[in-house]
Symmetry: C2
């Protein structure tokens, strides 16, 4: 089955996108190559015509996930009101209950911290692209300080969603999401007056 040039590239993208979802659902260690390929509608053997190793796929999937999140943020949150809505969506029960469709950081951050340097670098690059987008929007005059503050704000959202996903008490989980939204919006206001 020889195909045109676009075909292989399209297949590669399909594997990367399906893997992103699967990793977020089952964890990186929890998702095997055979399963990832089946998700993409292929068999395990073809994996190594696209990637040198599972680690290489992990790095590509992390990059892709963050790039998608960046695009989404650029479109849905171009201004202050959009960022407020992003916060509300991020800390929503819907996002909590569908990790496979959600933020890769919330689903995988501590596992990525244990991955090799290639993966951590891919994560760092992808996240900084997002943070710098937001920092430039919120504080065009002081992008460096805003970059750090934006990353801290993002860390808060990540930790809050992870905790909400883990607590066995649904009501408490809801309360934490709601308090998280209040805190994040207050911090955002504080950034403005700063």
């Amino acid at each position: 089955m020889r195909y045109g040039k676009e075909h292989k590239e399209a297949t590669r993208r399909r594997i990367i996108e399906a893997s992103g979802r699967r990793f977020k659902q089952d964890g990186i260690d929890g998702a095997g190559v055979a399963t990832l390929m089946k998700d993409a509608g292929l068999t395990n053997g073809a994996f190594y015509t696209h990637f040198a190793s599972k680690d290489e796929l992990v790095a590509a999937a992390v990059t892709e996930q963050l790039a998608q999140q960046r695009t989404q943020l650029r479109e849905q949150a171009p201004d202050r009101a959009g960022i407020e809505q992003f916060i509300r969506d991020y800390l929503s029960p819907g996002h909590r209950d569908a990790p496979e469709q959600g933020c890769p950081s919330a689903a995988l951050l501590d596992e990525i911290a244990r991955c090799d340097d290639t993966v951590k670098q891919a994560y760092t690059d992808g996240l900084l692209d997002i943070a710098d987008d937001i920092a430039a929007r919120l504080a065009p005059d002081d992008p460096h300080s805003a970059r750090v503050k934006t990353l801290n704000a993002f860390a808060t959202l990540i930790g809050t969603l992870q905790l909400a996903r883990t607590l066995a008490d649904r009501e408490l989980s809801d309360a934490i999401l709601e308090q998280g939204v209040r805190n994040a919006l207050a911090a955002l206001t504080q950034t403005d007056s700063n």
Copy 2:
């Protein structure tokens, strides 16, 4: 080799404590039963005289880790100044660089979120014990609201440390820890005036 009654209990505790460290270092999926037993100075076969399954050990290790953290917090942070010091220690480069000796939530939270209900319940129980200790100290008159706020504060610390561990840029990671300390201390002050 028949031993006294305390012996088996001591061995069980040794397995649980060694496993806690190993899980935080390699992840839950990343640590096999044979390795965990070797860490405790035993061979794999003896595992099932102490636990019905790996999941049962995971739940016990999570409980133990949080109980240790609670004891530590009770001793080291009995007052407002102690809590401030806890925040500084938590978001320190030393804690970032030694996950196996540190906070189980920072090392494992998203993986625990993917575990079965037993493990999530063990985590919930252990964390609420800690949060209620702190809430009772900070706001004895409104413990329920303080419980939620304390959990949100803890989530922020967790997310910040995870992010600091993952970023490939050391200077940026340091800056995020420092900003995290500033944010957490400010939030603590705000809680007082509330």
